[in-house]
Symmetry: C2
DNA sequence: AAACAATCGTTGACTTTTTCAATGATCCGT
DNA sequence: ACGGATCATTGAAAAAGTCAACGATTGTTT
């Protein structure tokens, strides 16, 4: 997305009223974060989204593709592509739904969990870099507020 | 973006560790917010991005297109499209840069400010809807934390 | 039990968005 | 004045998003 500036500028435009617009703040932080995250995940052949899918596949929650689509705010067809990719690389596999035979449950392979652990460690470093302007308390506060805004 | 669920579900998948991933939380809140914002702005022929450009044009800060691109995390060519659109509709105009004649300064027209005021009011309602799970204090806290994370 | 509508994953077409290199004009340092 | 850098702009290529249709399966209605 956009330009590749890794620099941390304090643009004079932040003074504008729009600097308080939640939508813009989210967009900006999300944009810069994605850049860093994808760069960090590239070493493992992953991107933010495939990492999310892999994480949920490793979670033991046995998500269906529909649940993945809902939770990740994706179109079902996008989930197909993501799972296809991970499955071809032997990181996850599709299992038949238990109550519903239409649904496919996505579960991780041993190799998938191996890769996931490494990638997760890299991502944590990455997050800390992005939020280095925040104290440990503020970091936790931010997470809590985002979660509360999303699902009470 | 993704599916059109306006419903506020509390998916069981939020239980996964990934429910604490800042990147995902930002992506999700940004996704649902964009949907609402764009819907609210549609009445004025605007979207999140053209609204941002219009806001900065109305700010009196006289931003150049390059500054807009940097601040909004967009490619310069995308700014060209956005400004083209707003200019054709008479909401902003391009003025010559003062020190730098290569640069174009984007300023609002009277009509642009008129539209902007209406759109901004609509957006505020929208934001309040999205963050209704948060108290007034928490709302302010969230903004402050996002700003601090972005530029100290 | 048979018919019906709804849902799941999948595919493919279509549109929008993003990315990137090239260009003329202008600026800056030497 | 020269050379390299930056600005806005264009256009093409790549990626991402949207959407309707399909077979298989489920739940619901009659």
């Amino acid at each position: 997305m956009g330009p590749q500036s890794t620099e941390v500028e304090t643009p004079r435009l932040a003074a504008a009223k729009i600097g308080n617009d939640v939508g813009l703040l989210l967009a900006k932080l999300h944009a810069t974060g994605s850049l860093l995250n994808n760069k960090a995940l590239a070493d493992y052949g992953l991107r933010e989204r495939s990492f999310s899918v892999l994480t949920l596949a490793c979670s033991g929650l046995e998500p269906t593709q529909r649940e993945l689509a809902d939770f990740l705010s994706l179109d079902p067809s996008q989930v197909v592509s993501l799972v296809d990719d991970l499955e071809h690389r032997g990181l996850v596999k599709r299992a038949q739904g238990k109550q519903d035979r239409r649904a496919k449950i996505i579960v991780s392979t041993a190799e998938g969990r191996r890769i996931h652990n490494k990638a997760r460690a890299a991502l944590e470093v990455c997050e800390q870099t992005q939020l280095e302007g925040l104290s440990e308390d503020e970091n936790l506060q931010l997470r809590a507020l985002l979660k509360k805004a999303l699902w009470g």
